[in-house]
């Protein structure tokens, strides 16, 4: 199904038209009845989009240039919030923590997801298995965080009790600065690995079997056909997985909020937590807004850079 979906903005209409002449004629003139119907269909979504997406996006830019506590009138500051951010070592800390989190999270999650997908591919009917492994992805982050808060607890958590039974020391996973962030990354890997696996699995299904057969006849080992066939042909899926998971990971909040609240010693103070604290606990709305703008720029920059480097949306299958 995925391959049938045209990815460009000009979808069905013009593609199916028979000749160039009709295309031009159609483009120039709109039919009144059609435009009216479109208007009725679009208006509710357009209201929602304008009021809750477009306007706030612009307003956020303006807010980032002001000092506003929501009680008194906003005071225009220019770029002062950005200067302050640049000098705020806790902001830099949150940036560093977030990047570290992404580094812990993404490679492992991608490799595990791909491994599970290959495993699914070995099964004749994997629907039940796929269903179970996807289940954590449907559970609220808050709940997943609470699960693991208990499972990793040094006193009652089965993880530590198992460690102890194996003759190892208990680890205060979420309570130590060194282990808290990797633990949170682990928790999110647990939640997302099934989803990532499913995306890879769908990608694997699109690779024609005859390629593998040809490789086998030519004497290629399993490792070789994986490296030379599977991985290159999975590139579009890989790009989708990496880009969306990095964007998602940069915005991690829920798990931190219910497990460590940024602690211990700011070791898990990720960007969204930093912003949340400033905007909604101290009501420095302008300062928080400025930080969100930095986050936005980072994410857009990352996406374009990654696409450019990997030319990721192209596949050899076309």
């Amino acid at each position: 199904m995925a391959s049938q979906v045209p990815s460009t903005a000009d979808g069905g209409q013009r593609r199916n038209s028979t000749g160039k002449a009709t295309v031009v004629r159609k483009e120039r003139r709109y039919k009144g009845e059609e435009v009216r119907a479109a208007l009725y269909l679009i208006i509710p979504s357009l209201i929602g989009f304008t009021v809750f997406f477009f306007y706030p996006a612009l307003r956020n830019v303006y807010m980032s240039l002001t000092d506003w506590d929501m009680l008194t009138d906003p005071e225009f500051l220019g770029v002062q919030n950005y200067v302050r951010l640049f000098e705020d070592r806790f902001f830099w800390n949150s940036l560093r923590v977030t990047v570290m989190y992404v580094i812990y999270n993404i490679p492992i999650q991608t490799v595990i997801g791909l491994g599970i997908a290959l495993l699914m591919n070995q099964l004749k009917n994997s629907t039940a298995f796929r269903g179970i492994i996807l289940l954590p992805w449907f559970i609220p982050n808050v709940v997943v965080g609470l699960f693991w808060l208990m499972l990793l607890n040094p006193l009652v958590g089965p993880v530590n009790l198992t460690l102890e039974a194996l003759g190892l020391d208990r680890i205060q996973f979420l309570m130590l600065p060194q282990t808290a962030l990797p633990s949170i990354a682990g928790i999110n890997i647990w939640r997302h690995m099934g989803y990532v696996a499913l995306l890879f699995f769908a990608g694997l299904q699109t690779i024609p079997n005859h390629l593998y057969e040809a490789a086998r006849i030519d004497g290629a080992s399993a490792a070789q056909s994986f490296g030379k066939i599977t991985l290159p042909l999975l590139r579009p899926v890989m790009t989708f997985v990496v880009v969306t998971s990095v964007i998602g990971s940069f915005q991690i909040f829920d798990t931190v909020a219910v497990t460590t609240e940024g602690g211990p010693m700011r070791s898990t103070e990720v960007m969204i937590w930093f912003i949340f604290e400033h905007a909604f606990r101290r009501f420095n709305m302008g300062y928080g807004a400025a930080a969100t703008m930095v986050l936005f720029v980072i994410l857009v920059g990352f996406t374009f850079a990654y696409m450019k480097i990997t030319r990721g949306s192209e596949s050899h299958l076309g």
Binding site: Q13, A38, G48, L119, G131, F147, M150, I247, F296
Partner: protein
């Protein structure tokens, strides 16, 4: 295996001993050995697959099991008997406390901390908020998606590009100004305030359904239109019913995303009257004693949040599992 090869060797020696038969038997022997290694390889592969699946199922399901086990345990026993795989002392008290079915003193007797829990209210709030957002968002997004996919109108492509561009905006960029707006409207801590930003559309829902409408065959709607059905009638009578699988997928995803949402609900709906489950759980977690958290209550609360999802999943899981991989809907 080596023993078998040995015996066939003996057979061979006991046989004719002549050269033509010898080479024939040798080929057979080689083929057999090869077959055996292929079989051994296949068995080894199956074994690895089975082990991998076993480990993954274990890792995925144990947290759920431990949640149920803890939720059903009399709280002091959770600390006294952490190694017990079954609940050391069964009780439904945690659920009764969490649902607010007992008084504060009774709650303490059941092993609680006396902390007031109104999860019944929150469960109800979660249901109302999720239902409202899902119905509104899926319906209006489907309408817009159809217009973008099939109808020609001025500024169509530009507008659609704007919707797609909005996909790139991090949630937090919108949360701050939307919070300000809801505050200015005086809608903080109301259902209206919680629901409004997601009720009319999300760019993702429009994008997803547009991609689907573009991919389906046009002939049916075209003939309906030529029969004089009108554009709107064609959409509602022909296209939407035909697209039920995609609309169902969108519905499930929108519903779970809404059910799971934390940040927005926390910011605009902290009041007990409108507090949804995720927010209630977050606040419960904050207020529970640091040294000895009320694990029984927490896990009973998480079960309330997990059970509805699990039911939906059992009913529609197959559909979800099969559609997610294909669409990459997130």
């Amino acid at each position: 295996m080596s023993e078998q090869r040995h015996s066939s060797d003996k057979e061979h020696r006991a046989g004719t001993g002549q050269s033509p038969g010898n080479s024939y038997e040798r080929t057979m022997l080689e083929a057999e050995t090869k077959l055996r290694t292929i079989r051994a390889e296949r068995i080894r592969r199956r074994l690895i697959t089975a082990m991998g699946i076993g480990v993954l199922l274990f890792v995925t399901l144990v947290p759920f099991y431990w949640m149920v086990r803890t939720a059903l345990t009399f709280p002091p026993e959770i600390f006294r008997n952490p190694r017990s795989i079954l609940p050391p002392q069964w009780t439904l008290g945690n659920f009764m406390r969490v649902l607010g079915m007992v008084s504060a003193e009774e709650a303490v007797a059941l092993g609680g901390t006396g902390q007031a829990l109104g999860f019944f209210r929150s469960l109800w709030n979660s249901i109302i908020v999720t239902a409202t957002i899902t119905v509104g968002q899926v319906f209006f997004s489907a309408c817009a998606a159809y217009a973008f996919a099939r109808l020609r109108f001025p500024f169509r492509d530009g507008l659609f590009s704007l919707y797609v561009a909005a996909l790139m905006i991090p949630m937090m960029v919108l949360v701050i100004p939307n919070f300000a707006l809801i505050h200015e409207l005086g809608w903080l801590n109301t259902y209206r305030g919680i629901v409004a930003p997601f009720f009319f559309m999300t760019p993702l829902a429009v994008f997803f359904m547009r991609q689907f409408f573009v991919s389906i065959n046009k002939e049916l709607e075209e003939s309906a239109y030529l029969d004089g059905a009108g554009r709107l009638k064609t959409a509602f009578r022909i296209v939407f019913p035909m697209s039920m699988p995609a609309i169902l997928t969108a519905t499930i995803i929108v519903a779970t995303t809404t059910w799971n949402e934390y940040l927005w609900m926390l910011v605009v709906g902290r009041d007990r009257a409108v507090r949804v489950l995720t927010v209630a759980l977050g606040i419960f977690r904050q207020q529970t004693p640091q040294g000895a958290p009320d694990w029984g209550g927490l896990m009973a609360g998480t079960m309330l949040a997990v059970v509805p999802i699990t039911i939906v999943f059992l009913l529609l899981g197959k559909h979800v599992v099969n559609s997610i991989g294909h669409t990459g809907f997130r």
